[in-house]
């Protein structure tokens, strides 16, 4: 799954919210010029802040996408992959880009190719909360203490959730999930 493909195509609909809020801001400006001006100043400052930070993040995402072939890695994630499989699952999720629901189709491919369910849950967990490009951005926005402590806690959470989820599902249910994709 490539970097841009999970995202919806750009269309008129994508701009709807922006139009509405843009028009509101113009109305506010005429109604309350002082507040309106302050809104524009906050918006302008934030756009500047973003433009300083965003370009390298997206370049990184693009490079990850092009250089890391996912099919190859899925082979090393089966039931007997042990710690190595766990590590790869985390790395795959952490190096990914895109919202959580983009992870589900990839998880499906991984399941079909023989990835164990526990590794799938670890992968989903890592994807949801341990993405490296996001961490870099989080450090820049919220500071290293906030970002790194949140990341470390989430790391623990990903393991705990995968472990208990694996225990929660009895063998029959696991078989059902896996068989669905075969």
């Amino acid at each position: 799954m490539a970097g841009g493909e999970y995202l919806k195509k750009l269309s008129w609909k994508s701009f709807q919210g922006l139009y509405i809020i843009g028009i509101i801001s113009i109305l506010v400006y005429f109604w309350l010029p002082r507040e309106g001006l302050r809104v524009y100043r906050v918006v302008f400052n934030n756009i500047l802040f973003m433009l300083g930070i965003i370009p390298p993040i997206f370049i990184l995402v693009g490079l990850f996408d092009v250089w890391i072939p996912r099919e190859k890695v899925t082979r090393h994630l089966g039931d007997r992959s042990g710690l190595k499989g766990t590590g790869i699952s985390i790395a795959l999720g952490a190096l990914a880009a895109g919202p959580l629901y983009a992870a589900f189709p990839i998880a499906e491919v991984m399941l079909r190719k023989g990835t164990s369910l526990r590794n799938i849950f670890i992968f989903i967990g890592a994807w949801s909360t341990m993405k490296i490009p996001m961490l870099l951005f989080e450090i820049q926005s919220l500071g290293p203490r906030f970002a790194i402590s949140r990341y470390a806690m989430s790391f623990l959470g990903v393991f705990l959730i995968a472990f208990f989820l694996d225990k929660l599902l009895v063998d029959d249910e696991k078989k059902n999930i896996i068989e669905k994709f075969q």
């Binding site: 919210g17 507040e35 906050v42 934030n46 450090i139």
Partner: protein, 162 residues
């Protein structure tokens, strides 16, 4: 631009250089993907920036602090976690949003809970998730992630306040 941003630029540009040296076609492809992801994210991104502008200008700091501030207690956590669990805001938008709310009176722990639930819990995407893994696994994952988010909030609060 601060130092960490500068270092980040240097690292990414070196990686880009290595990539270009090894395979030009792939590098161009990577840049195209980067551009496409950026462009698609831009409209919702700008919308949220505007929304934040309104919040900061029209909702007084005191009100933000009252509902999700350091002293907002259980109600603050409840609000942050529910908003986080329901909404689908990409991290690129959520982090600056949390930063701005923090600067305007929101509490550290509340923001950590918000970001954690935002990333791990997806109420709107739950039906999609269930179509892949079934409802039991989906409910299990989301519920555990929801409650774990409070642990994350507490941990982050401890670390930031050392």
């Amino acid at each position: 631009m601060d130092l960490s941003t500068l270092i980040f630029y240097v690292i990414v540009l070196s990686l880009l250089g290595i990539s270009f040296f090894k395979d030009r076609k792939k590098t161009v492809e990577a840049l195209l993907k980067a551009w496409k992801s950026f462009i698609v994210l831009l409209p919702p991104f700008l919308t949220i920036i505007f929304l934040l502008g309104f919040i900061v200008v029209f909702i007084p700091e005191k009100t933000i602090a009252l509902y999700i501030g350091e002293e907002s207690g259980f109600l603050g956590f409840l609000i942050s976690s529910i908003v986080g669990a329901i909404t689908l805001i990409p991290g690129f938008v959520a982090f600056p949003m949390a930063k701005m709310l923090l600067e305007n009176g929101a509490g550290i722990a509340q923001m950590a809970v918000f970001i954690s639930t935002l990333m791990m819990v997806g109420i709107i995407t739950a039906p999609l998730e269930a179509s892949f893994f079934g409802w039991k696994a989906t409910m299990g994952r989301n519920l555990m992630a929801y409650f774990f988010s409070f642990v994350v909030g507490y941990g982050v609060w401890l670390v930031v306040n050392i």
